[in-house]
Subunit: 465 residues, 2 copies
């Protein structure tokens, strides 16, 4: 069954729509309107009448059955007790996908699970797919769709994010905005009564707007199904997973939180390794990797070159490279070319140290050289804030040099410093160059790219170092 209507619906009904700020049914309406969704929007509320959302007037229907046109997606935000009737009406209306925001089902225990299963069976009988229940909605930036009650201004990009946790997922929507992480899709799957991780992987595999997939996962119900999908999709697009409940006590906490069985963690570890899934151990690590994986091309070889203006960060990056199993290019004859961009006391050994005298011009020369050199396959640019290096200039020359080169090699940047540097980091990230505030995070991210690339090309299990 296809899920095209989850990402590209031509019309959406909000069941439980409200004009009252603070209500979930209001936030979803507001996000749909503000984010610029161009299809038809039908607010549904038993009270009927009209409502005005952000200066746009809507007729309110008492039931989806009263809507004159077709409805592709119905977002359900009514109390749990009313959900069964809504599912029935949506089915009769011919709705295709049903994100159920409402909570109060499987997460409460056995009785809730039973009701939840009945809803799914009813929906399936009508040919509908259910997302959730117990979710915060769905975003698909290419169709300007933000049908969530989270923040509005999701940044368009090429990373798809799937979250089992509602609270964390909605908090992470804010995180992606703050950190300038561009998303193609964001799907909250909550109790996974019907649509699960594997279904979404199958869709996203073919989605031309998605280059990498990040999943926050607490547990999987159908392990075999997930592994089949993950293994196939990983060959085309990298998958990053944060799987909470690694520890024994953490696994017990998962069980009490979602009611899903966290399972022995080593089974997950083995499954991820076999299917090429990259397992991150924290939120920032997952998004660091997702940022690199969704923006960068695959490397055409193992030789990494580090360009720096500070010996200290160069050493830190070297440590991280060795720990991550990355290979630093060390053909001194070829590296000599970098001597053109440094004073006599610089070092063209890799890490290439342009010294604290480097301005944007020296970085530009060195980066262009590395991007053009056939034996240099990936580039790491590091810089420490100095009095003579203008952060904005540096961001500009890096963006221009990388774009002019056709963005054919992986490039990551780390900029260590204060406010101006943090602003430059944002500019670089907004322009698709993965940039971090410290060397280890840049190296960790390009290492994730290599890890996936090596799994994919050599089908070998590359364990987390």
């Amino acid at each position: 069954m296809d899920m095209e209507e989850l990402f590209n619906p031509e019309s959406i009904a909000i069941v439980g729509a409200s004009a009252k700020p603070g209500k979930i049914g209001y936030s979803i309406m507001r996000n749909l309107v503000e984010y610029g969704y161009e299809g038809s929007i039908y607010p549904i509320n038993i009270k009927g009448g009209e409502m005005t959302i952000k200066d746009r007037k809507f007729k309110v229907y008492k039931s989806v059955l009263d809507v004159p046109g077709k409805i592709d997606m119905a977002v359900v935000a009514v109390p749990a007790a009313h959900v069964p009737q809504v599912v029935d009406e949506c089915g009769r209306k011919g709705v295709k996908v049903l994100p159920i925001i409402s909570s109060g089902f499987g997460e409460l225990g056995e009785e809730g699970k039973r009701i939840e299963q009945q809803l799914v069976e009813k929906a399936r009988g009508y040919g509908m797919r259910v997302i959730g229940p117990n979710i915060f909605g769905v975003v698909y930036t290419p169709s300007k769709l933000n049908a969530t009650f989270g923040p509005t201004d999701i940044i368009p990009g090429k990373l798809a994010f799937i979250s089992q946790s509602g609270a964390l997922g909605i908090a992470l929507m804010g995180w992606t905005i703050l950190e300038k992480i561009g998303l193609s899709a964001l799907v909250s799957i909550g109790n996974k009564s019907d649509v699960d991780d594997a279904d979404l992987l199958d869709y996203l595999e073919k989605d031309k707007n998605t280059e990498a997939i990040l999943i926050y996962m607490e547990g999987i119900k159908d392990g075999r199904k997930f592994m089949q999908s993950a293994k196939r999709v990983s060959r085309k697009k990298p998958i990053v997973v944060i799987k909470a409940g690694r520890s024994e006590r953490g696994a017990r906490a998962v069980a009490s939180h979602t009611g899903s069985l966290a399972g022995a963690d080593r089974i997950y570890t083995a499954a991820f390794e076999q299917t090429g899934v990259l397992r991150a151990f924290s939120i920032s690590e997952a998004f660091d990797w997702g940022r690199a994986l969704s923006n960068l091309p695959e490397p055409q070889g193992d030789n990494v070159v580090i360009i720096t203006n500070g010996g200290g960060v160069g050493v830190m990056a070297t440590d991280a490279c060795e720990e991550e199993g990355l290979k630093l290019y060390d053909n001194l004859e070829e590296l000599k070319v970098f001597a053109n961009y440094m004073p006599p006391f610089g070092s063209y050994k890799n890490p290439v140290d342009l010294t604290g005298m480097a301005t944007a011009a020296e970085y530009e020369g060195a980066l262009k050289t590395a991007l053009a050199h056939p034996e240099m396959h990936a580039v790491v640019v590091l810089c420490c804030q100095t009095a003579i290096l203008d952060a904005k200039d540096l961001a500009d020359v890096l963006i221009n040099a990388y774009t002019e080169s056709g963005r054919k090699k992986p490039l990551v940047v780390a900029m260590v410093g204060g406010t101006e540097f943090r602003e430059a980091i944002n500019v670089l990230n907004e322009n698709g160059i993965p940039t971090y505030p410290e060397p280890e995070r840049a190296i960790g991210s390009i290492a994730a790219l290599y890890r996936w690339h090596n799994w994919k090309t050599k089908e070998q299990v590359w364990r987390r170092p």
Copy 2:
């Protein structure tokens, strides 16, 4: 020999002072004036005359020998070739400490090392201590002293930071401002020709304004001296070290960068473990720990309580606790008290899940309970951004509850979300509550406190997990 004059000089000469923005000799003058140093400032420049810095007029002396009053500290920022003469004049003037900003000495090789050693011998002959050369200066916030050419607005606090690397150190000055990390002192020690890490540890051990010490280190010359000092100081104040050059290739890069021998890394590891020094593996980790160690009291027992509004982050924190060897309190009878601050579907098992329904009021009740309970020894507060939780309100109640309790137990906070949450993180940090944007960093930081505490009280080696 005492180094009181490095931190509390009554008068400072800037040799190589300049009124021209962009010059190092200008930046140091500007920082001294802007940061509010209240002692005498004497600009020294061969040209003589007068100079105006930020509306303040100074008579410029051609030599320190021409200055009428005494000079405690002379900051030397003239080309390397002129340094020997300056050292001589400073000695004759009776200067006590001599931070030599100038580069072009030991970092260039054997000949440079020889000249450097001669300078030190000459200075010692006069009873002067040399800091550097090849440094960016010194900050001591209690005496409003910022004698660096880095950023001005260093935030006062209780963490002392010692940096061997100039470029990285100056970039990290900006980092501390951005991340709201309060410093007592910041000393750039560069080539360590005279004053080294151990000398500064000895001073900072007794400094009542310093609660924790962070060192960025590339190599140590006198290992025995460092170990003696570190072991003694660690019993009173925690020491965090970032020691670059962990890997074989990193160690070689250090040698080419500073000319100092990085040494076999396992020797450093053993030395740190034996002396209670906490070794961090990245900049953010070091400052995360430094933030907690400089602000928090020691725990009076092992029982950690986690209070959260999201199951997902609770599980992530639980994983991190188990990996870090922290003990989650699990006396269910006592934990039941938290049921007062949650809806019926919340969970008072540790992690205590107030659920997504929690407002600042529920957090306040739960935190006060934990802070008052005799069996709960350390508290971790986690929260995910939700529609009903006001970040500013939350920050206010946490600060008030913690202050009212007398700040007798360690408390760390993690707030996951967007812009408003990031602002609340800053507010909490400005108020001395170590707060982070994700659970793992909060747990890692309180774990560093426990690691130090356990080393100190049990003298046991607690290895990095």
